[in-house]
Symmetry: C2
Subunit: 360 residues, 2 copies
């Protein structure tokens, strides 16, 4: 079983076409399963032509676009197909697509014959800076996202920033939110770079994205290597996610993209953090940066209710019997895990946050 | 994540009623899921009354008897139920039953919220000496047994030999085959004890079973701790399983119990081993012991065909691209992994083995 330290992370331009350099030996003579969606195959499938040269057998497994791929039923379909065509313990799997394909593909690999090795070939910014890194895999149940899964570290993550140019602007924005999340707590140089290059980043320019994806991946992997099974250190990566997940769930995983929900989650966490002594200037710096993202507004008309959101947070898979742990900024470049935020305080702050038109 | 070294193994009489001694602190104040079958609950459920005293909440999850429990659909049903009733990352799961309940329960625990801790409370001899030990978990696909699963080590394995008295003789025999499998390659004192006490063991006498279960568990855990992810050392535990699995599959998992199929697998492996220099006296000692088991005969009438069985072995999940690895005795108390047995040799030997009325 590979661990976080053995994952090779490669970020560059044209990495997918050059994939044989990193993956060739590992795939040589193997049965290789490529999990992907119709859109990714149509747009970028040609970049993996070298695979036919190195693999003994190649099987393309198509899954639905987006979160619809992340079900137990889809996973079972892949396991059955892999077994039928002769998948073995030393077969390989490539998860070629966005975060959903990576989450599903990693889980399928991690549980097929008790685990085969796999690699992540992420094609969205969100997946390149966050989802594909760190070994978290999983699918969803009706009751919650990522509620079934395993830790299964990829052999390699190949992030080719050239594929990001085909992403819609909202998808780039969603990915950049995760970059900001890490930068604000972990890497102030990266934060300054995002502030400076924001227009080019939101436009999907590869030259601007390359150093940002590299730095974000470095920041995340440093945390993961320190704390592979999610103690307090890794938990810092959940900044903005406690409310973010509840917002997504309350809106039925429509209306807001994951990154957009996390952005609102960070804005809300700033309020709790300021009550615990976070410097107002630091909080304002993050508010100003996120304002430039021009987030879609939170739906009004009573669709979001503080009490309901608090209840949903209690059901979050990160919750333990003792309650929720909040990740709050303590200062610029420093986060902390806070366990003693009462549901009453959260509900009152959240009601005020929602009433303020969610501008924080 | 627990590893093989952190699993506490307790073998004794009345261990289930005294379960709070080993599990009390670990379960205290938690939500506890008890996965079990109707039969086990009816026969032995009363032994876990102490659980209501130590757990914050207890949820009994009933699954079908035997292999029918080991499906992705049953696993998904448990995950959904666990999430609905508020299962958290620090919830616990007890797999209370035979090997199937343990395999399923371990997989469900290993994948719920990316892994919650669990304990094995095995109620069959097979589970106490083999299935519950070592962290292998999984469910079946239509194409093969244990083809979906993870390695997930239990916090503890509590083996109470008193529950074995309710087992039918054939079930005891099936479990004893796994003991013989380990004893012949790993522990000659245990082999001698089984030879000496066989009638009492087959009668389910707790005083005879206690030292045998203890020694078998020790032998298995020593191998697992040496080699947790199944390299050559752990592979020794698959002695008899290559043909055994193929026999079970060819007979549709009816007709022969797992241990019975493994016994035939060992008898067949002896033939391959003797062609590679295994001493005839050593082989005869194992043949003589297994003869005393009075195995049900292999079905005749052409139901088993050598070529078909060879094809099934190639699909075994332990196969790799390069082919099958056979576990063969090299001498009394010593096994070896042999990769260069040609399918042609296997098929010819197997045809002779089947023709000989499977008496080896």
């Amino acid at each position: 079983m590979l661990d976080a330290n053995s994952t090779r992370i490669v970020v560059g331009r044209g990495e997918l076409e050059r994939g044989a350099e990193v993956l060739g030996d590992w795939l040589h003579g193997r049965t290789v399963f490529v999990v992907s969606s119709p859109r990714v195959r149509a747009l970028h499938g040609g970049r993996l032509r070298w695979l036919d040269r190195v693999a003994a057998r190649r099987h393309d497994l198509e899954v639905p676009e987006g979160e619809a791929a992340k079900t137990v039923a889809v996973a079972e379909g892949l396991w059955n197909r892999m077994l039928e065509v002769g998948g073995k313990r030393d077969s390989r799997l490539l998860a070629f697509g966005g975060g959903s394909v990576g989450d599903l593909g990693g889980f399928v690999a991690g549980s097929f014959l008790r685990g085969i090795e796999f690699a992540q070939l992420p094609t969205t910014l969100l997946a390149q800076v966050d989802a594909a890194l760190g070994g978290k895999t999983g699918v969803d149940l009706a009751g919650g996202k990522n509620t079934v899964g395993v830790f299964h570290h990829p052999f390699a993550v190949l992030s080719d920033v050239e594929v990001l140019s085909t992403l819609p602007p909202a998808e780039l924005r969603s990915g950049l939110v995760e970059v900001v999340k890490m930068a604000f707590l972990l890497d102030l140089d990266l934060l300054a770079r995002v502030e400076r290059d924001l227009p080019a980043l939101l436009a999907g320019e590869a030259s601007a994205l390359l150093p940002v994806v590299q730095a974000a991946a470095d920041a995340k992997m440093a945390v993961v290597r320190d704390d592979p099974r999610e103690g307090d250190r890794r938990r810092l990566l959940n900044f903005g996610h406690t409310l973010g997940h509840a917002l997504e769930a309350a809106l039925g995983y429509r209306t807001l993209r994951h990154g957009e929900a996390v952005a609102y989650g960070m804005l809300f966490a700033l309020r709790l953090a300021e009550r615990r002594g976070l410097d107002g200037a630091a909080a304002d710096r993050l508010r100003q940066l996120l304002a430039a993202f021009e987030l879609p507004p939170l739906p009004g008309g009573g669709r979001l209710v503080a009490r309901d959101l608090v209840r949903r947070m209690g059901r979050d898979k990160k919750a333990v019997e003792a309650g929720l742990v909040w990740v709050l900024p303590a200062a610029l470049g420093a986060g902390q895990c806070v366990a003693d935020v009462s549901p009453r305080e959260v509900e009152a702050e959240l009601a005020a946050f929602l009433a303020a038109g969610s501008r924080g």
